[in-house]
Symmetry: C2
DNA sequence: AAGCGCGTTACGATAGGCGTAACCCGAAAC
DNA sequence: GTTTCGGGTTACGCCTATCGTAACGCGCTT
């Protein structure tokens, strides 16, 4: 999969390492110099230079105990980004609308690096709700995020499905054949409902967001606790999500 | 101002340039390679390598017309950052609370590079409201953000005040002597109200967030259209902001 | 056809950045 | 108290990653 060309490349290695450092700090708040160096297999002086450079620009901040976190410049970058990435900018108000109507958590997910990645979300104001998190990754093969897989070209699809399917709960599909059959069914019906495949006691409904040529751009999703979700609710979610999906497609320019 | 030490430095220049590129793309969405190179006074091949490296990691995205925008990784970085920067994480719900009660826009601003910088905000749900933007900078010498200046050490304060004060509206203070006197008054009363100093027709109220030692960390702010803001409203805002400020101070650990 | 300007590639020269080694310092160990 | 350890930091000489020049392709305008 992840084939990085051995040395022949037109990228700047030190910059690339520095990005790794930044992402590492993002993932592990309050990490120390030595840990970063170990994680990335680099030397301490090198990482120190990188962190100092990042700190000077406010991308990371060093606490007085010597640990590193992201800094204010990263916040600015992020908010700028969410207005610049069309998909997110357009989907955000729509996710909120669906979330308000369903009174449950909604998400926008894309395929990234063989996984599904949450890039926008809405959580309703109620005590008990599904927790979503921008940046969180999930396998493509479990839960209703399977829709992302279902609309790929067959050969791409197959190479996205790993040999062994990770089992998250007892309901997770772990047989490749069964999964492919399920994907076929999803494509025919245009949505996917998952009962406790990712987390027990959670229902998840997803609908694909399609481009003009039928290729899949993203998935919109409602997640809810199973105990308060009737069949009729699921049906309602599907309708809401289908509306949302086509609204996003249109506003993206098709 | 912008003094970069000639060569003696323990930072990685290529990384530093790359950050400049990133910030440049953030500020100018849909910018082209050549423009970036010109803006930064660098050669095109160099910037091309940088952009490619950033693109590979999803920090920027190249459109099919050859323009660059921030990418999804930047969004992830940003949301991670806003949970990692203590001040922002703590202030956000408090800003929302004040904003709901005042039914006007609230902001959290810090001193950054001789300017005031918005790092968190809340906008109420009403048709006409003050627009706030994370990342937007304003001079320290105009508007109620003067509170940030008012609580600095006198000598630091003076060196933050430029020779000539930028005039934004006819109400902006442009005389250094008058400004210093005003700052003294602000420090004594503990807040600052600005009527149309930054934008005509806008009222802005700010209260400092202080550390245990009395040094200023940030400012919390309410901004509102003048026509619907009575003296009594301003007084109410001041009370709300003072509560908010001390709540933030406490939750920061003092 | 010629000219322009953008993005891109190739390549040889060089200085930027690398790792090694050593140092500092506080905390833990003894 | 001294010693040891491990974190962070500095110094410096070698080397290669990275740079800029120059040239190319290509689309659009003239």
């Amino acid at each position: 999969m992840d084939k990085r060309q051995p040395s022949k490349s037109n990228i700047v290695q030190s910059v690339d390492v520095c990005i790794e450092v930044l992402l590492n700090v993002a993932k592990n708040p309050d990490i120390r110099l030595t840990e970063v160096a170990q994680d990335l297999g680099e030397t301490k002086p090198r990482i120190l230079r990188m962190l100092r450079t990042l700190e000077r620009r406010g991308l990371v901040r060093k606490s007085d105990t010597g640990t590193y976190r992201l800094g204010t410049t990263a916040i600015i970058l992020g908010t700028a980004a969410s207005t610049q990435v069309d998909l997110v900018r357009i989907a955000n108000p729509i996710l909120e609308e669906v979330g308000q109507k369903a009174n449950e958590t909604t998400q926008l997910r894309i395929i990234d690096n063989g996984e599904s990645l949450c890039i926008a979300k809405f959580e309703p104001m109620r005590d008990l709700r599904v927790q979503a998190m921008i940046g969180r990754r999930r396998p493509l093969t479990a839960g209703s995020y399977k829709v992302l897989l279902a609309y790929l070209q067959p050969q791409v699809q197959l190479q996205m499905i790993p040999e062994t399917l990770p089992r998250l709960t007892k309901r997770t599909i772990t047989d490749r054949g069964k999964l492919v059959a399920e994907l076929d069914k999803i494509r025919r019906q245009g949505f996917c409902v998952s009962y406790g495949e990712v987390s027990d006691q959670l229902v998840s409904v997803s609908v694909p967001v399609l481009a003009f040529d039928g290729s899949v751009i993203a998935a919109v999703n409602v997640g809810a606790p199973a105990f308060r979700t009737q069949k009729s609710d699921v049906d309602r979610f599907i309708v809401l999500l289908k509306e949302a999906s086509s609204k996003i497609s249109v506003r993206l320019g098709w």
